[in-house]
């Protein structure tokens, strides 16, 4: 397989050398893509065959039923309010958690005394299974979106906080001293040195936080809600509707993949702009 069809690629091949083009990643990735599709199809066929024959279809449903259900949701549009509710809660929870995490990480990272005082409390909070806070959030914020946002935020905040904190601590003290000698104010040191220097760390936290925001939102919906994909799973389950549960899970998985892809695209952008260094 050759990639010698566009002028732009010629350059890249020449730099990497001809041997690299011979074993081009395109060739192997096409093959891997092929196997991936085969595996998926095989899995669905086996599922379809097993269901109702070896295992009760009441328990595992079957792919055709699930596809029917998905089609019904999509054609009537009944799925969208649920998708929207989950996306909304995930997004708000992520933004709030990320903002608090970055702010907290910067603040404690810059005050060693305070961070030492708060240390045991922070770790106790981290060790707490945050999902167990859901009933409390429902009590505080009610049954609508706010309690889901709170749960998503609380799952995100610590991940972002820890990474931001580490990023701030990682800043070279010599660079800080250098800035001070250049007459930089505390604010200038923060904005021109500490934040840019910690950016790559902060991004690790943000990236890890995205799936947790989704988890938080969905668990909130599972526990008490009248909308959202988590609610859909919970409702279908309580109606013994396996096809409904699986269909909702498919939508959740698709959503997770879309979020992941958005994060990857953003990271590539930022790396190109050199905002994320190293």
């Amino acid at each position: 397989m050759t990639v010698r069809d566009t002028g732009a690629d010629d350059d890249a091949i020449d730099r990497r050398g001809w041997r690299h083009a011979m074993t081009s990643p395109d060739a192997s990735s096409a093959l891997i893509g092929f196997y991936q599709i085969i595996l998926g199809v095989l899995f669905l066929v086996v599922w379809q065959l097993v269901s109702g024959r070896l295992i009760d279809s009441f328990i595992i449903s079957d792919p055709i039923d699930i596809a029917d259900r998905l089609w019904e949701w999509l054609s009537t549009g009944s799925i969208w309010p649920h998708v929207w509710a989950t996306v909304h809660a995930t997004f708000l929870g992520f933004v709030i958690g990320a903002a608090l995490g970055v702010a907290g990480g910067l603040w404690l990272g810059l005050s060693p005394f305070l961070s030492r005082v708060l240390d045991p409390y922070i770790w106790a909070f981290n060790a707490l299974p945050k999902v167990a806070l859901a009933p409390l959030f429902i009590l505080w914020f009610g049954l609508d979106i706010n309690s889901k946002v709170a749960l998503a935020a609380v799952l995100v905040v610590f991940l972002v906080f820890v990474n931001t904190f580490a990023g701030v601590r990682e800043v070279d003290q010599d660079l800080v001293d250098g800035m001070r000698i250049m007459r930089a104010s505390r604010w200038q040191i923060l904005t021109k040195l500490i934040v840019p220097s910690a950016t790559s760390w902060i991004f690790v936290g943000l990236k890890a936080g995205v799936p947790y925001a989704l988890i938080g939102a969905i668990i909130g919906e599972l526990i008490a809600s009248s909308r959202g994909l988590g609610y859909l799973v919970q409702r279908a389950g309580s109606e013994f509707d396996a096809a409904g549960v699986f269909a909702a899970l498919v939508v959740i998985a698709a959503l997770a993949m879309i979020f992941n892809e958005i994060v990857n695209v953003m990271q590539r952008r930022l790396e190109r702009w050199r905002i994320v260094s190293r």
């Binding site: 070279d172 660079l175 001070r180 007459r183 930089a184 021109k192 840019p196 220097s197 260094s277």
Partner: protein, 256 residues
């Protein structure tokens, strides 16, 4: 004028006490170049840090232009062993940083930074990132960044130690040419006796830790000096041998 008056500094780490500096008295005349020489870890860098106001002496006083240094001394430029360029900024953005901090408008600071870049021979590398430069180029960039805001005194902590011999000579030449224009006070910490004699008006030798002034030697080589050839002159050899002889005595004595 930079004055160190009976400076004492002890670092404590847990139970260990390290007497870094013990009773250093030193005055550095304005517009002179003074080289500080001594064994590794003897506290020379600590002295520079104290002049920069980053550390404070336990006893004694650092006086800069008649005023005691109590906070960070923003009249000096400090160039450390490591090149402290910001990796996410291009060469010109790094060099313009001190001007940016001072709140100078973008256009003017880029113009001034460009002029300084040309001065240190980095023209054409303005938009490169530090990771794309060689060690010598990074040193030039650091030098340019330090000089661009025109500090009155330069503190150089083994600035050229990591460079090969050829590059070091080129940097010596650059430094002396820049100094001839602006006549800053320069305090240079080095391990390299040849470097010290080539550049300085005065070489101050320190003892092992805790650092005290062991002896000093005035360097009366005429200026401007040809850094490439000055080391082969008879006077240079005399000075070199004189200092070397004393160094030998000094450190032999310490061993006992």
């Amino acid at each position: 004028m930079i004055e160190l008056r009976s400076i004492q500094k002890t670092f404590r780490r847990r139970r260990d006490e390290v007497h870094a500096v013990d009773g250093v008295d030193l005055s550095i005349a304005p517009r002179s170049i003074v080289a500080l020489i001594g064994p590794s870890g003897c506290g020379k860098s600590t002295l520079l840090n104290m002049i920069a106001g980053l550390y404070h002496p336990d006893k004694g006083r650092v006086v800069y232009e008649g005023k005691a240094v109590r906070e960070v001394n923003t009249n000096v430029g400090y160039m450390t062993q490591k090149d402290n360029l910001l990796p996410w900024r291009t060469v010109i953005e790094n060099i313009a940083l001190p001007l940016e901090i001072a709140g100078i408008a973008t256009e003017r600071r880029l113009a001034e930074a460009s002029a300084m870049i040309a001065h240190v021979g980095l023209a054409g590398f303005e938009t490169k990132y530090p990771s794309e430069l060689s060690g010598g180029m990074r040193k030039r960039a650091c030098l340019a960044r330090m000089l661009v805001y025109q500090p009155q005194a330069l503190l150089l902590d083994e600035p050229f130690a990591a460079l090969d011999a050829q590059l070091r000579i080129a940097m010596h030449d650059l430094l002396l040419r820049l100094w001839a224009e602006k006549q800053q006070t320069i305090l240079l910490v080095t391990h390299d006796l040849v470097e010290a004699i080539t550049l300085a008006d005065r070489v101050v030798v320190f003892t092992r830790r805790p650092a005290r002034v062991a002896f000093e030697q005035a360097i009366d080589l005429p200026r401007p000096r040809d850094v490439q050839h000055v080391r082969f002159t008879p006077r240079f050899e005399e000075l070199y041998n004189a200092i070397w002889e004393q160094l030998r005595l000094e450190y032999a004595e310490e061993k006992l």
